[in-house]
């Protein structure tokens, strides 16, 4: 990536990601992920899917699911639409790279800084989510992803490992409020 003179702040407005442990739960702000929205263009399924899957190296996940292999991850977000994840340090230009792969078969939009991502790790994650969202968190398996209200905000919840590892994507501007809600719920069950 090109060198430039601007310093980045995390969504919680810190130089370094905020990582907090409450009881048996760790809530980690994770800004090290680049995100792009990938939306298939109308009538272009035939050339879209192979191009996208060639880039990712795995099949695009079906509704309600997320998939990951190597550097790339994908989360189904809407009919014909996915969020593509990759490490920020090496993929800050994610939108350009995805667009290059899919060409005019899809629309690609940079979403990296539109979201704050919190990784929630620990055995009390389930009772914590019970206090945050209407998701049936007990039934959620690794590789499942859904959208749900948390703290009045539309968030994506991705199950990385059932019962102990989840990611929450929420609107970046409300990162502090969302973080506060997560901490409160963690304290409730600590």
């Amino acid at each position: 990536m090109p060198e430039h003179r601007l310093k980045a702040l995390t969504p919680l407005a810190q130089a370094r990601p905020v990582i907090r442990s409450v009881g048996r739960i760790t809530i980690a702000e994770n800004p090290d992920v680049a995100l792009a929205s990938l939306a298939q263009r109308r009538g272009r399924e035939a050339d879209f899917t192979p191009r996208a899957e060639a880039l990712l190296g795995f099949a695009l996940p079906t509704p309600g699911h997320a998939a990951q292999a190597g550097d790339w991850g994908a989360i189904w977000t809407a009919p014909g639409q996915w969020f593509i994840e990759a490490p920020f340090a090496t993929h800050e230009d994610i939108a350009a790279r995805v667009k290059e792969a899919v060409g005019d078969a899809a629309s690609v939009t940079e979403q990296t800084d539109a979201w704050v991502r919190f990784d929630i790790i620990g055995r009390d994650a389930i009772p914590m989510f019970e206090r945050l969202s209407a998701i049936d968190i007990h039934a959620m398996q690794a590789g499942q992803a859904t959208r749900s209200l948390i703290e009045h905000l539309g968030c994506y919840v991705i199950c990385r490992e059932a019962g102990s590892r989840y990611s929450v994507l929420g609107m970046r501007s409300a990162a502090a409020s969302l973080h506060h809600a997560l901490i409160q719920a963690a304290e409730s069950v600590a």
Binding site: P2, E3, H4, R5, L6, K7, A8, L9, T10, P11, A13, P31, S37, A39, R41, R42, G43, Q81, D93, D104, S107, T109, E110, Q111, T112, D113, A114, W115, E130, R131, S133, A134, I135, D136, H138, A139, E151, H152, L153, M171, R172, S173, A174, A175, A176, S177, L178, H180, A181, Q184, A185, E187, S188, A190
Partner: protein
Amino acid sequence: MTVNRLSGGQIDRNNTLRFSFDGKNFTGHPGDTLASALLANGVRLMGRSFKYHRPRGVISAGSEEPNALVELRSGARREPNTRATVTELFDGLEANSQNRWPSLSFDAMGINDLFSPFFAAGFYYKTFMWPAKLWEKFYEPVIRRAAGLGRLSMEADPDAYDKGFLHCDLLITGAGPAGLAAALTAGRAGARVILADEDFRLGGRLNAETLAVGDGSGADWAAATVAELATMPNVRLMTRTTVIGAFDHGIHGALERVSDHLPVTPQGKVRQTLWRIYAKRSLVCAGAIERPIAFVNNDRPGIMLAGALRAYANRWAATPGHRVAVFTNNDDGLRTVADLRARGVAIAAVIDSRADGAAISGVEHLRGAMVVDTKGRQGLSSITVRTASGEMRTIACDALGVSGGWNPNVSLTCHHRSRPVWDEAIAAFVPGADLPAGMTVAGAAAGRLTTAAALRTGAEGAASALADLGRTAALPDLPRAEDDAPRMVPLWYVPHTKGRAWVDPQNDVTVKDVKLAHQEGYKSVEHLKRYTTLGMATDQGKTSNVTGLAVMAAMTGRTIPETGTTIYRPPYNPVPIAAFAGRSAGADFRPKRLTPSHKWASEQGAVFVEVGMWLRAQWFPRKGETTWRQSVDREVLATRGSVGICDVTTLGKIDVQGTDAAEFLNRIYANPFGKLGVGKVRYGIMLREDGMVMDDGTAARLADDHFVVTTTTANAVGVYRHMEFCRQCLWPDMDVQLISTTEAWAQFSVAGPNARKLLQKIVDQDIGNEALPYMGCAGITVMGGLRARIFRISFSGELAYEIAVPTRYGDGLIRAMSEAAQEFGGVVYGTEALGVMRIEKGHAAGNELNGTTTALNLGMAGMVNKKKDSIGSTLSEREGLVQPDVLNLVGFRPVSKDAVMSAGSHFINAGAVANAANDQGYMTSVAFSPSLGHAVGLGLLKNGANRMGERLRAVCPVKDLETEVEVVSAHFIDPEGERLRA
């Protein structure tokens, strides 16, 4: 040793808890409720009644309690109307009686009781009619002070409350024999089960009765069953949890009292959690509530339900007295005698209203007799009994157990308006048809009043609910249990007596009040309730509704089912408003959205303003500035004189891509976008379907198939939703993809004659007039290579740009730009200066785009392109919207330079009376223009475009303000637009 503590019971005598009631200290044990501990300490008098201030004691042993309401705790945590019967005793518990003055034993307001003939139902409605104006200021406050329940603390609630969400196959409400058998059945079958009970000990009546279950006691079976259930990972046992309502689609509300049994809510923990339970099936095992019999002076402390007497004796080893009488109309009530005698309590007499009830040996058993009166000022001392032969007997006793039968607890079954039906066999209402979808009922709640029937129907109910879900469940081997058919002869009130017989002790409603309601024509149960207040307040008539109905039936000569039914609404029991609010209280009422420059702005001491969920910097005070105007004037003048920077990230940004993107914008904007060149920006207005302006903003064309649309901050979500609706529902055949990028980019406006000079220090490429002309846009890099976007657009009338970088770099960019601006004496300005400058320039904003204005009103009729079709274009031509005298947006200035103008003022022609008929329009926006040195305003004026130079009155009756104003162009600054093209 406490005077009324018996042997045995399910209390932990190894530990002693201290507590106080009305300042007096007592002791109890873990496992006690406040009510059981008070009884054990010989306290029968626990409260004063609502209206007559009658001395009252505990009636029940559960959440149905109407009488024993106390103020619990002190200070900010003081909670009124807490039922002593469900308050778990903890060390240091502090309770006070309520609705008495100066003390519980001597209550001056007890004088109300002497005047009771005046205070019959409807008294207030009839008496305090005149003069009407005295009601609010005098009568009501006085009555409220004399009547009523506990006092609020008037302080903020110091505790936190959670809301949560649970999912299950089967929700079982109530953990008595039916609920436990159901949970065992469903739990062993592997189903996801939630078993919720409001008690802290599961088992329901099994803990209160001595009836054998299997080879042991009911309580032992309950404990063993709970122990097995606790080992099942698929079963969630929720104690202290009241299911408060059945809502749509299997959703139930449940209130868990997480910390109410602790002296103080632990740090970081919540007091209560309001659960929303998504249940595929629901089995109501809520049991039954015993009902009293109404007789004269049946409300004295010491008189309680017979089942409650047994519960206190068996579970809590407590008794209200040592010489107890029993008054019953059924066999169940008779069991009280054996239970109390087994614990050494003397039985004064058994009064059985039935002549043919089973005879009990060893006690005075008066069959065919009724209690007709009682004595004892602050607690029962004797009862008067009319025997079968008509003889009057006075029997000394200090407690009386009353049983009029049992009412199945049908509350939850009624929440979707299902009406219960009358079951003659038990003389009670049982759940009707049309229960909430997925709900079934078992045990006593279904009118199956024996232990064996409860166990059996509970197990069968669970199996059948699971079968409904396609699962098989084997019925467990159920223990042997009592299965005697209940025998009772209905008796609602004791007839042929004089005096007041209470039906609803919580609201002080007597049999006479029901008679009076009937006499005055309030015969429908709904009218009865409103006229007498029967069944209202915290207990919602759990012990009184059916009796009230029965009395009304007797008055009308109809049967009870003919008279009507009573149904229940959620919540089943009172729920603190704080629990409904959950975490959304105080500063956390709603989430806050912070701009990318928020941290920097906070460091500068910015004053913030809420704009929707956003916090935006309103102005940046500097040292020596004492009023907001000084700061804002400085920011405006510095911007117009040199350069100003403003965070405009909050404006909505919507990425529009696809081969049909241009045509899509053509349809949603009134003005055309098809031919907008790549690298160009155009201002646009969107109309609603009805022709009114919905929003304004810009669209920048980044590529043939790629636009970025901006919206106002307020309408960002609404416009995006509207565009999604158009894409998905109106024109699904178009190839268009939309996504919000509002949060992805930190965007700043840089405006003023030195804007380019400043930006040239930031931007890596040339942004001169040729490279980036007015209304151009480009992808650029800044600060040595960071990808960014620049748009040459202006809402201030100055040479201006908007520059955007990925949000994480927004803080870095504002720091870099504000530093670079110092060289030019530039500033960072807030929303207030932004507002001043847009008014000076005559730009419509939220005040003008108020949902009632058309493009014609706003002077933008020419933008509604007639060569193409777009949303709202046709309806904007409606006759009424295009009259010659429609409102036009024009500018106003005060005739006298120093005069003040006020937004919201209405325009009245000189010499005309200021009334609605003479209304010429209204002022929408006003600001003090530091550039011009006087106030400037925008307003909508009838035929305003043709009234330049006219003088009018701007009248604001609300502020009692009138200003003479002159109609001028809305463009106060640089009307030719030379600055922005500079």
